[in-house]
């Protein structure tokens, strides 16, 4: 029996190729059922995202299963195997375990520490559970993977601080205002970056979003997307003083918001804090505005350098994450090892022998002085009873290929701590 993974990801295959072999949920369902039905794999889970397609499996075919899974994937997606030459990678046993843990912890992602992969791994597993294509080993493996992913998110800074411009801007907004529910957001210009930022703010609870653009139609379109309302271009200066967060990204060669306008406006709005996010290039907001009391002005460069810094911070924690993963891989391998018939029989016999000896000693003491012959007979009696009782389970465990029996024995006799 061996545990294996076969797949390709953003490092080994370009997007055009990954598209071809991606599994939509319905396809993944069909594929894992086929794989197990045809006997290529005993257990199967497919993890497929836009950055990876991977088949996890347990197979009796050992190494031969790798080629079998590869050609299955090619056939399933009707892709010429030649095209996928070199794109496939595979890992066995501990390496496969390590690979899944790294994937779940987002160490293998395109953006280090991105949060979605853990959910995708969980979904892949629950789909396989539904299709009943998992068994003892993959169940344990994927439950562990989810735990490892969670553990790394909470114990390291991988995935802690945002690494994209829009996410950094949203984070800053929450550090200034706390809850965003009652804050007013004005989006000036309908660029992609400001759109992302506005959507991020909306996701963090901002309900009052206004969008303005030179073209009113585009403003209306963007407003619809972020759940806000559109404002005619001519009116936006007048609405400035009621805003808390202003995002600008307009193509212009002069500042659209001058510093004296901000100064005037701040005194009108009682110097409530104002967060200005200037995503324009060249800049849209007079940099002097920053000197006005309680104004927080960030331009694209500022946000980008914070994002870069956060990325470095994440990378610093990679060794720590790898250590956690190594620890969990060892634990998993020990668990798997314990499932082998030999080690289970050994533990069972060890436990029985320990009980026999301690009971024998205690009872011999109670009996008082005995002759050597008497003593030997009693000892032989205990040995015979233990051996007779253990004989049948020993033989059957050796014959059985079903790991569930081992698990039951370990559970019934509480063998997990026995060495």
């Amino acid at each position: 029996m061996s545990l294996l993974v076969v797949g390709l990801n953003h490092r080994t295959a370009p997007i055009e190729l990954r598209e071809h072999v991606a599994f939509a949920p319905a396809q993944a369902r069909e594929a894992i059922q086929q794989l197990t039905r045809e006997g290529v794999l005993e257990e199967a889970v497919i993890v497929s995202t836009c950055n990876r397609s991977e088949v996890y499996g347990v197979s009796a075919l050992e190494r031969k299963a790798i080629a079998a899974v590869q050609s299955f994937v090619c056939q399933f997606h009707r892709v010429d195997p030649q095209r996928l030459n070199g794109a496939f990678y595979h890992y066995l046993e501990a390496d496969a375990v390590r690979h899944l843990f790294r994937v779940a912890a987002s160490l293998d992602s395109m953006v280090l520490g991105e949060p979605h992969i853990l959910g995708q791994v969980r979904q892949a597993f629950s789909l396989a559970l539904e299709c009943r294509t998992t068994g003892l080993i993959l169940n344990h493996l994927f439950q562990k993977a989810a735990q490892v992913g969670k553990r790394i998110r909470s114990e390291t800074e991988i995935g802690l601080r945002p690494t994209s411009v829009s996410a950094v801007a949203v984070e800053l907004a929450t550090k200034i205002f706390g809850e965003l529910g009652d804050r007013s957001v004005l989006v000036v210009g309908a660029g992609q970056m400001s759109q992302l930022t506005a959507r991020g703010l909306a996701m963090r609870g901002a309900r009052h979003i206004t969008v303005t653009n030179r073209s009113f139609d585009r403003a209306t379109a963007l407003a619809k997307q972020v759940g806000g309302r559109a404002l005619p271009w001519e009116q936006f200066m007048a609405s400035l003083k009621t805003q808390d967060i202003v995002i600008t990204s307009i193509q212009t060669d002069q500042y659209i918001i001058r510093h004296d306008v901000i100064e005037h406006m701040m005194s009108e709005r009682n110097h409530r804090p104002l967060f200005l996010i200037d995503l324009g290039l060249p800049r849209n907001i007079d940099p002097d505005a920053e000197r006005v009391y309680n104004v927080f002005l960030y331009n694209l460069d500022d946000l980008q350098s914070i994002a870069a810094q956060n990325r470095q911070e994440r990378e610093k924690d990679i060794p720590k994450a790898e250590r956690i993963i190594e620890e969990e891989v060892q634990k998993f391998m020990r668990w798997q090892e314990s499932l082998s018939a030999v080690s289970t029989i050994k533990s069972l016999r060890f436990k029985a022998e320990r009980i026999r000896q301690s009971e024998l000693e205690a009872h011999l003491r109670k009996l008082g002085p005995l002759s050597d012959r008497q003593r030997n007979i009693i000892t032989a009696l205990t040995l015979a009873i233990v051996n007779k009782i253990l004989h049948e389970p020993t033989v059957r465990l050796k014959q059985s290929a079903d790991k569930r029996h081992l698990e039951s024995i370990r559970y019934l006799f509480d063998l997990n701590d026995e060495e």
Partner: protein, 273 residues
Amino acid sequence: MSATVFNWMSVLCYLVSGSGYVGFLTLRKPHLGRMATGFLALGLVIHFIALMRRAALIGSVPYGDLYGSISLFAWDLGLIYLGLELYLRQKSMSIFLLPIVIVLQAAFALFQRVPTEIDPWVKGWLFALHVNISVLAYAAFAISFIASVAYLIQHWRLRTHRPGRWSSLLPSLDLLERVNLTSVILGVGALSAGILTGVAWARRAWSHASHRWDAKITWSLLVLVIYALYIILQKRRGWRGQRSAWVAVGGFLVVLFSYTMVNLFFSRLHAYF
């Protein structure tokens, strides 16, 4: 067990709690945070028992001397912080607060002597009320001070475009401002009540007119004025945020002065607070 054992046990709990908070904030292990909060709560319970023991030993309020009042102050501080932490679900202000509580309670455990002689007038419910309310006010001002410092750090990081670890550790500016305002309002209310009960008690205790006014009252009124100013400025243009945070810092410095120098050199009636 003697009161001393309880004192040191509470210090130990605070130390464990404090290192738990530091561990939680740097290593981000959730169970460390829960442990830290648990030990803080345990420390407060033991601290309370220690105060009660002391009271039983003296046969009067446990804060009839300087050390006792310091211990009561530390206890109030820990209690208000714990309430804030549970209410706001925010542990990061602990790194400012726990060191203060630890130092105060350790100093108390180290230097305290059980007073052999108690002033006969240090008794009665009015005196107890006066001291408890006043100490509560000081603790509230201390919390406001901590929130102000945290605000100034957060503000400085955000204004200089270097949020970094400090910014993600500390609560939002908005929240810190609200914590600050809430504790100042609590403090002003408590201090006003403290002054009134103090005056009422003094009238009862002494008939002599020269005992009616004390330098401490002057300083307490000054503290009241500064914090009242803070509350007013909070809503004023050009003053909310950073500038009013500095006012709160200034207010607390006056509180510290009133707590130490005034008691030692100027006041005849306030030996300890």
